[in-house]
Each structure stands twice: as structure tokens, then as C-alpha cells.
């Protein structure tokens, strides 16, 4: 059975050129960049070339890029690293209600240590109001952390406006741009961010490698201590093969971005059009100010995990945030924050497209989805109740 992959937000495929670069590297190199001999020098040169490729993707300097083990580590580093470095200044952090767990759980840990966290609410599209950020800043505030693109509903946040405010107020600003860097243009200076988290597996690089952009003079300490790798910000021998892959992926993303966005936006639009042929489906997130490759939609009267299982039976891979499918058995905090009701949140699916997806795949998927929805609604007491009333 042919596999149709519509779960790129969980991790993209690896671009063939990235794969080739990684395999070539692993075949030829094994030196540690810190070593003082020729093999170390070769590894060091490859590492710095990758750093430059990633820096170019976000219009930064190579020296401002720290490689990590992925988006989650980048976020942990940004939040906990700033808290450790600035605890003498204050213990107040501002965030939003729709952040990824890597942000919210890092903050929860800090709350146990006496930090106060202001979590801002969002509008029905999931957008944070920059004025709320401004109002929430106090003398005690050491960090504002707001994501750039939401990974569940695709909405883009007004990061540039927030960055302007934090700069005026002299507060450090971290943005979790994991879902957006490498997908849409991101310029660290335009955004005004001091810290930016990103991950290679969002732009056709490998999993297990990411980066944290650190603006010079930002007060931040490492969270992983040891050797002097990564300019003293991240100890431990680098994941060289992963980093080489991330560098290549960044280079390709920068070069191919306009055509990728065009293709992905067409897929997104076409998928939304196909969804309108099924009754009682709501599209979540901002309709225009959003990621080009993600559609979150709620199929009323059915539950998400059962739809995912039925799609999977036919080779179609997508994602859900229903309570049943989550480890915590809680409905998605993002959907609830946007005012989506609990029952509709249960039937929410996330389709995220990639550069190799085609219109034919959308046609196959919509047919399977339609059958699944009919099958499940037919046994749903909620649907029956609605039909009766």
C-alpha cells in the first residue's frame, strides 16, 4: 500500500540532497571538532560551514548560532538559561496560552522555584495581542517567550511588534520559531528576537538536531555544562552528522523557499476546498496569517483518534490532538484557548503538507476521510442526537 504522508509538522521527510550530504560526511569524517589534529580540523571546518548555512537562513551571524539536540532543547536552554542568568534582576516571565509543552513545562518548573508567570490569552484565531504583552511587563520581568507559528493551528503571532516592545523595555525576548523557520522567511533583526528556537526536522533535515539563535550580549547561561563546545553555550561533542544535515537543509530551504511556499499554499487551499464538501467541519486558526502547509480542522460529532486509525488503515498519515490520543488525556490547550468547545476539539485533525505531496494525494485522502466520517458518525450518539433535533 502506498503511504501518503500528511504529518510534516511532526517531522518532515529528509531531502534527498540532505541525505546524500549526511552519508558522504559519515563515510569520510569521524574527527571531533575540538581535536588539534587534521581530522579535528576537517570536522571543525564542516561544523562552521553548517553554522554559516543555518545563520544565513535567519539572517544572523554564524557566531550567534548554537547547535542543540532539537527544538525542545533549544526552548529549554532559552528559558532556563535566561532565568539562571537573570535571577538577580527579577522573577517574572510572560508567555501565551498556546505555547508548546517545551515552553509551558519549562515555565512550570520555574514556577516551582518561585517564578511568577503571566500567560496571555489569545483571540479566536489564536493571536496574542502585543498590547497585552506591553501591559504585562513589569520591572521584575526578565523574559517574554511567545511562539512565532503555532504548531497545532498554524496561526502566526505578531512577533515583530512584540520584539519592538521588548526592545524598548529592555526585556529579553525568546520566540519558539520551530514550526516556521525554514518554512517561511524569518529574519532575526526584523523580528527583534534575542533568542530563536528552531529544529531541522521542520525543513527536510534530520530529527534530533536543532539550533538556538542567541543575540550577542543576551544574558543567558548554558543548561548543559562540560567542555567549551558551541562557544561555551552547549557542552558535549557535537552531533556532527545531524548538524551537517541541518546545514544542508537550511541552505536548500533558503534557496527553494519561494517555490516551496507556492506549492504548499496551493495544497493547503485545495485541501480546504475539499473539506467543504463534508458537512459540519470547522477550520481552525487564522485563515490568512498562517503557516502555508498546515490545516487544522474539527470534524464535529466524531473523535480524532478513531479517524486517524481509519486513515492509517488506508496508508494516510495525519495527526490529531484529541484528548484520547494524547498521553495526558486532555483536550488540546490550544484549541480550548481559542474558544473551541471540548466536543469539537475531540474531533480535530491536523494535516500538514510537504514539498513532495501532490493534488492526487489530496483526492485520495478526501475520499478516505469522507468514508471514515460517515462510518464513525453513523455510530455516534452525538450525530444521531443532532439529526433528531
Amino acid at each position: 500500500m502506498e503511504t501518503i504522508y500528511f504529518d510534516h509538522i511532526s517531522g518532515t521527510t529528509i531531502h534527498p540532497e540532505v541525505k546524500k550530504t549526511m552519508i558522504n560526511y559519515i563515510n569520510e569524517h569521524y574527527g571531533n571538532p575540538v581535536s588539534q589534529h587534521q581530522l579535528g580540523d576537517a570536522a571543525s571546518a564542516a561544523l562552521e560551514a553548517a553554522r554559516q548555512q543555518v545563520a544565513r537562513l535567519i539572517n544572523a551571524q554564524p557566531g550567534e548560532i548554537v547547535f542543540t539536540s532539537g527544538g525542545t532543547e533549544s526552548v529549554n536552554h532559552a528559558i532556563k538559561g535566561v532565568a539562571m542568568a537573570t535571577h538577580d534582576k527579577g522573577k517574572h516571565i510572560i508567555t501565551s496560552n498556546i505555547e508548546h509543552q517545551s515552553v509551558s513545562k519549562s515555565l512550570r518548573m520555574l514556577m516551582r522555584m518561585g517564578y511568577r508567570v503571566t500567560s496571555l490569552s489569545v483571540d479566536k484565531y489564536g493571536v496574542v495581542n502585543p498590547k497585552d504583552v506591553e501591559r504585562a511587563i513589569t520591572k521584575e520581568t526578565v523574559l517574554v517567550t511567545i511562539m512565532h507559528a503555532n504548531n497545532e493551528i498554524g496561526t502566526l503571532e505578531p512577533i515583530a511588534e512584540i520584539g519592538k516592545i521588548t526592545r524598548e523595555k529592555g526585556v529579553i525576548f525568546h520566540t519558539d520559531a520551530i514550526a516556521s523557520v525554514g518554512v517561511i522567511p524569518f529574519d532575526v533583526d526584523e523580528m527583534g528576537a534575542d533568542l530563536v528556537s528552531m529544529a531541522a526536522n521542520q525543513f527536510y533535515g534530520p530529527s534530533g538536531v536543532g539550533a538556538l539563535y542567541i543575540r550577542p550580549k543576551t544574558r543567558i547561561l548554558p543548561i548543559i555544562e562540560g567542555g567549551m563546545q558551541e562557544n561555551g553555550q552547549r557542552a558535549g561533542s557535537e552531533n556532527m552528522v545531524g548538524i551537517i544535515g541541518m546545514g544542508k537543509a537550511a541552505e536548500l530551504a533558503k534557496r527553494e523557499m519561494p517555490e516551496r511556499i507556492k506549492h504548499l499554499s496551493q495544497l493547503r487551499q485545495a485541501w480546504i476546498e475539499r473539506l467543504t464538501t463534508i458537512e459540519a467541519i470547522d477550520i481552525n486558526g487564522h485563515p490568512t496569517n498562517c503557516l502555508p502547509h498546515l490545516v487544522s480542522f474539527s470534524v464535529n460529532f466524531v473523535e480524532g483518534e478513531s479517524m486517524i486509525l481509519m486513515l492509517d488503515e488506508k496508508g494516510i498519515c495525519a495527526s490529531t490532538r484529541s484528548a484520547c490520543a494524547s498521553g495526558s488525556l486532555r483536550a488540546s490547550h490550544v484549541l480550548i484557548a481559542t474558544g473551541c468547545d471540548y466536543a469539537a476539539a475531540q474531533g480535530t485533525l491536523i494535516f500538514s503538507f510537504g514539498i513532495t505531496n501532490t493534488m492526487e494525494e489530496l483526492d485520495k485522502a478526501i475520499a478516505v476521510l469522507k468514508d471514515s466520517v460517515v462510518f464513525l458518525r453513523n455510530m455516534s450518539p452525538l450525530y444521531k442526537k443532532r439529526a433528531a433535533s
Partner: protein, 173 residues
């Protein structure tokens, strides 16, 4: 996938789906807020469950449990059906992932509730008002349980006192 082959088979081809006219007993448990909702209807003849149907809103496990529990109850006497437990349903399904054990509870609970409804009606107790269903949906007890091992916590705790995993608190309705 995390499910056994039996679970997947019942999920893909569930038995006893649907509704019936003039059921002798109806049991409904859960609500969409929690993620699952299950309704079981029974027809009783000569003290035996002659026919049984279900309607379920829920995940793969919830649907497979509905199918299995209705299969197990069909043809059984009332007494025998009352002895079908959450555990026996889960066992018949070849086991369920730990964080899905609560789905099997819904199955046996819905069945037992349908039987209780039948017994109440037989004894001439007042039939349930049509709006009582709504009352049930909004009156979910505030309690804390572990989604992994399904242990009801004696008090509000962040981690299960038995297995140490994060608990779930029903505080949202």
C-alpha cells in the same frame, strides 16, 4: 499502532452498532468532554439479553470495547451479564494500552447501567425523565484518576500514587 489485533478487528468491523425501537433498558456513560461517550440499549426476553445495540463517540479503544462488551452480553442472562467486568472485556480484547483502560470501564459501566434501567422499569420505578441525560452529562464527579493505570486517586495529586505517572483531574465541567 499500540492496539492488539483483536482491538483493531473490532474497531474496523464493530458488531451490534445501531439503535432499537422500544428498548427494555438504556445505559449511557461518559461525555464528549472526557473524550468518550457510550450508549447501550438492550432487549430482554425470558431473563436473557435477546438483543443489544450500541452507539459510541470515542477513540479506537472505546469503539472496540463497545463491540466486545455487546458481543459478550448477547444471549447471557441478566445475572451473567452483570458479572461482565471491565477487566474481562479488556482481557477478551487481548489487552488494552494502559492509558486506555478507562475505555473498558465505560463499556461495562454502560452495560450495567442499561441492565439497571431494565430492572428499575420492571419493578415499576419511575422512568427516567428525558432531561435526566443532560443532568448526567453536567454532573460528572470532580475526581482525580490516573490515565495510565486507571487508579482512582484518594485525593487531588499531580502524580499517580500507584504508578507515578501524571494524573488527570476532572475539573472542566
Amino acid at each position: 499502532m499500540q492496539y492488539s489485533e483483536i482491538v483493531m478487528e473490532h474497531f474496523k468491523n464493530p458488531h451490534n452498532i445501531g439503535t432499537m425501537e422500544n428498548p427494555d433498558g438504556v445505559g449511557q456513560v461518559g461525555n464528549p468532554v472526557c473524550g468518550d461517550m457510550m450508549k447501550i440499549m438492550i432487549k430482554v426476553k425470558d431473563d436473557k439479553i435477546d438483543d443489544i445495540k450500541f452507539e459510541t463517540f470515542g477513540c479506537g479503544a472505546a469503539i472496540a470495547v463497545s463491540s466486545m462488551v455487546t458481543d459478550m452480553a448477547k444471549g447471557k442472562t441478566i445475572e451473567e451479564a452483570m458479572h461482565i467486568t471491565n477487566k474481562s472485556v479488556a482481557d477478551q480484547l487481548g489487552g488494552l494500552p494502559k492509558n486506555k483502560m478507562h475505555c473498558s470501564n465505560l463499556g461495562a459501566d454502560a452495560l450495567h447501567k442499561a441492565i439497571q434501567d431494565y430492572l428499575d422499569r420492571k419493578e415499576g420505578r419511575v422512568r427516567r425523565r428525558p432531561d435526566e441525560e443532560l443532568e448526567h452529562i453536567s454532573s460528572h464527579d470532580k475526581h482525580c484518576y490516573c490515565p495510565y493505570c486507571d487508579y482512582d486517586q484518594p485525593e487531588q495529586v499531580a502524580h499517580c500514587v500507584r504508578c507515578g505517572k501524571p494524573t488527570v483531574e476532572h475539573d472542566h465541567d
